[in-house]
């Protein structure tokens, strides 16, 4: 019962906690740059301000449904991902479904941004889709290695199979490649070409202001939970530390899952704070070269171990 309640409120919890994490992230970046930084609740103020704007400029109805498309795609994906060992929509092959659903929010943003008619948005969309194609290849190989190692395509089965030892201990190479792909999924620094402010003026979101931008910030914080949650369920045992049954253990597992999201996001932020930005062609070549080669080695390793 309590799990179903948690699950109904998970989009709300994810968006609000994600805003808190993004505020802490701004504080961390400020401390790295020897600044004092904004208060940790700054993201809440920003969202409140964006939703209280008096004027919201729209271009057409496709522009309007872009942010809705993004947020709905991410919430749907979040329902498939086990949170603290519990998944609401869990079936066979849901890992493949998640791989498809992950793309929907990006495509929705591309649709809305393309409808705005701004050339910067067009360039940003082009870069975003190129980057997606770049990091999906090593990421799919990594997911395949986890599928082959555990002989299942169900995320909750993979989580259950990691009861004794986490997959990061048995598939370390795949976990590292997944984290490199995660850097681009988060849109953090070496791979933030789609929203590069100095080059394409924040890219796809260039025409979005006011309430639209507020909704995109909420979508971004849900997306953080989706992407980090997939990594946790694949490699960090789904964030389960207590295997006993009971409501209190469920809640503790849930909180530990959120803590793991924070840790993974913070690692990405710290990498982002000290790196410059690749060009889009460099990023593409990078992803299809070293991470792909290492992911193939990881896949071969998983295949060999499971066949053994």
């Amino acid at each position: 019962m309590i799990e179903i309640l948690l699950y109904i409120f998970i989009p709300l919890i994810a968006s609000l906690t994600g805003l808190l994490f993004m505020g802490i992230q701004r504080k961390i970046i400020a401390r790295i740059q020897n600044r004092r930084g904004p208060p940790f609740y700054q993201q809440y103020i920003d969202v409140l301000k964006l939703f209280s704007k008096r004027e919201n400029i729209s271009h057409n109805w496709i522009f309007d449904i872009g942010p809705i498309f993004a947020i709905v795609g991410l919430v749907t994906t979040l329902l498939f991902i086990p949170v603290g060992g519990f998944s609401l929509l869990s079936t066979d092959g849901d890992l493949i479904v998640v791989m498809y659903l992950l793309v929907i929010s990006g495509l929705g943003m591309a649709l809305g941004a393309g409808a705005s008619g701004n050339p910067n948005a067009g360039i940003g969309v082009m870069r975003g889709l190129t980057l997606m194609m770049a990091y999906e290849l090593p990421f799919v190989l990594v997911v395949l290695s986890a599928m082959i190692y555990y002989h299942t395509t169900s995320l909750s089965e993979i989580v259950k199979a990691q009861k004794s030892v986490w997959a990061i201990a048995v598939l370390p190479l795949s976990a590292i490649i997944a984290d490199i792909a995660l850097q681009a999924q988060f849109g953090k620094k070496p791979f933030d070409q789609p929203i590069a402010p100095a080059e394409v003026a924040t890219g796809p979101i260039v025409e979005y202001g006011g309430k639209y931008l507020g909704m995109l910030m909420l979508a971004h914080s849900i997306g953080m939970f989706v992407e980090a949650g997939l990594f946790i369920d694949l490699f960090l045992g789904g964030g389960i530390i207590f295997h006993q049954a009971g409501v209190i253990y469920q809640i503790l597992n849930f909180l530990f899952w959120i803590l793991l999201v924070f840790i993974i996001y913070t690692i990405a932020v710290i990498i982002s704070a000290v790196f410059p930005r690749y060009r889009i062609d460099q990023a593409f070549v990078f992803y299809w070269k070293w991470p792909t080669i290492l992911a193939i080695i990881g896949l071969a390793y998983a295949l060999g171990v499971s066949a053994w």
Partner: protein, 196 residues
């Protein structure tokens, strides 16, 4: 030739004295509650558009010396996402067209801060044929900072003042621009002769 032009400008300025309105005369501030105003003042995003020589004063303001992100302010690159337009220094006629275009793309509520003496009365360029002397004839300015150029301390003071004005509802430049749009437009067209 130049003198005539200046006289014309003075005449327009004297006509515009009517634009100086008080807060209480029929300006709509309903539906903009205390919490919303607090959120607006604590998260002012400014357009990253530097005109004139004041842009150089923003570098120490944004970086670790006078970290302006403490107040939730940081530069945004597109006017659609911004609340604050900084006029950093002298404004020539060609730049003014771009400034007006940027200002009109920003969603309400929006605020303007003018740096230095040039937007106030022309400063050292008061007799130039390419700069304007009174910015307030073409755009509603909320806060002026005197000085040539103002130091970062005084800019921080000005932002502090702007935040107080937003909280008390006195920063109503965007409402003035809407209410007296025809007068502002007439001034702009008189200056530009042919629009764009």
């Amino acid at each position: 030739m130049v003198e005539v032009k200046n006289e014309e400008k003075e005449r327009i300025a004297s006509e515009d004295m009517g634009v100086q309105i008080e807060n209480q005369d029929g300006i709509e501030l309903r539906s903009f509650g205390t919490v919303k105003r607090w959120a607006t003042k604590r998260s002012l995003w400014m357009v990253h558009y530097c005109t004139g020589c004041g842009g150089i004063e923003l570098a120490p303001l944004m970086t670790s010396r006078y970290d302006m992100e403490r107040f939730g302010m940081h530069p945004m690159v597109t006017p659609r996402q911004s609340d604050l337009l900084l006029i950093t220094g002298y404004v020539n006629i060609k730049t003014l067209k771009r400034i007006i275009r940027t200002y009109e793309q920003m969603p309400d509520p929006k605020y303007v801060v003018a740096f230095g003496s040039c937007p106030i009365n022309g400063g050292p360029y008061w007799d130039s044929h390419v700069t304007i002397n009174h910015l307030d004839k073409y755009l509603p300015v909320d806060v002026y900072i005197a000085g040539c150029m103002p130091r970062p301390q005084s800019i921080v003071k000005a932002f502090d003042m702007l935040m107080d004005m937003i909280q008390s509802g006195k920063a109503d430049g965007y409402l003035r621009y809407k209410k007296y749009y025809d007068r502002y437009k007439a001034n702009q067209e008189k200056l530009f002769r042919k629009w764009w």
